[in-house]
């Protein structure tokens, strides 16, 4: 491995950029592959690009056969992140649970009385408006977004930013009725059926959850399914 490649790889990791290190196992020749938009990897045999993308999404390295022999694709994904919009009661239960499950948690609430350090010790808090906060956070394939405020002024900008990103999970708290009016507003904002299929609303698996902790379990379980079984999860979200 060339030192410059390792240095670039470490720089990518520091900046939380998902990257694949591709190694031709016969020659030792290597290069770094990046995701470009939602379509795939630029400047590459499309089949290799697709495999590398799948490896990143599934967070699972693999070998692909090429004309130059086996190509090993090692995956370097940024840590899992959960962006919570709304420093509400449910968030107080969901934050520690998600941290246990390996997520770096960020709570966004422009209402500083809610999003205070006292209520969320040890958590990254932002009192920016969600669209500004989301822009700074640069959500990626390893990021989940959950909106909890019920307030369209706060939830909608976050959802719009989420839909424009590669986040693997979007959940929005609220009843079916709330969700229907949310869909109406997002339609007016130019989004369509493919986008709505990405939003889990009402949020969480249907397990009869009542308390904030139980609702958090249902949300975290649904996030886990979206992360580990993306195909099955997309079908259920669209249903």
């Amino acid at each position: 491995m060339k030192r410059e490649i390792l240095e670039q790889l470490q720089a990518d990791r520091a900046e939380k950029r998902p990257v694949v290190l591709a190694t031709f196992l016969r020659t030792g020749e290597q290069r770094l592959l990046y995701l470009v938009g939602k379509k795939g990897l630029k400047d590459l045999d499309p089949r290799i690009g697709e495999t590398a993308r799948a490896a990143l999404i599934e967070d699972k390295p693999r070998t692909v056969e090429t004309e130059q022999g086996p190509l090993f694709l090692n995956v370097f994904n940024p840590p899992l992140r959960l962006i919570l919009v709304g420093a509400v009661h449910i968030a107080q239960a969901l934050v520690p649970m998600a941290q246990l499950a390996g997520y770096e948690v960020i709570v966004i609430d422009p209402r500083s009385a809610f999003g205070s350090v006292e209520r969320f010790p040890g958590v990254q808090l932002s009192n920016d408006w969600p669209d500004e906060a989301m822009e700074k956070l640069r959500p990626d394939l390893r990021t989940a977004l959950v909106t909890l405020t019920h307030d369209p002024k706060i939830d909608d900008p976050a959802l719009i930013s989420g839909l424009r990103s590669d986040v693997f999970y979007i959940g929005a708290l609220g009843s079916k009725k709330t969700h229907a009016s949310r869909i109406e507003r997002l339609t007016a904002a130019g989004f369509g059926a493919d986008d709505f299929a990405r939003i889990h609303g009402p949020v969480g698996l249907s397990i009869g959850a009542k308390s904030p902790a139980e609702i958090s379990i249902s949300i975290l379980a649904q996030m886990t399914a979206a992360l580990r079984q993306p195909a099955a999860s997309a079908t259920s979200a669209a249903a």
Partner: protein
């Protein structure tokens, strides 16, 4: 206030490898590229070795690290990448094997300047 993200072991391995290299040492990286059966460490697991045989990381949980380090020192010396096969069926050839009954392939490469 910010919590530190979960400790990422592979970041430490690569950071250590780069640190060794920048301090003028010879360094090799070993990576698990294939597993069959109940292999102890998943594909992608890494181990970094310096030219004195010091290593960080793990490719097997201890069964074959000694043999990997030996090959890594050879790779540091001659610069050639190599593929190592370990498993029950290869136990005689390599004189080390995996107690768990799995099989793994480990790619060893020198970190060049």
């Amino acid at each position: 206030m910010t919590t530190d993200p979960m400790p990422d072991v592979s970041a430490d391995i690569l950071a250590t490898a780069l640190g060794w290299k920048l301090s003028g040492k010879g360094v090799a990286l070993a990576t698990v590229v294939t597993t069959w059966g109940s292999a102890p460490r998943p594909v992608g697991s890494q181990l970094a070795v310096d030219d004195e045989g010091k290593f960080i990381g793990s490719v097997s949980g201890g069964c074959i690290e000694g043999a990997v380090v030996t090959e890594a020192l050879d790779a540091i010396a001659d610069g050639k990448p190599r593929m190592l096969d370990f498993g029950v069926s290869d136990a005689q050839a390599w004189e080390v094997g995996l107690a768990c009954g799995g099989k793994i392939q480990v790619y060893v490469e020198r970190l060049d300047s």
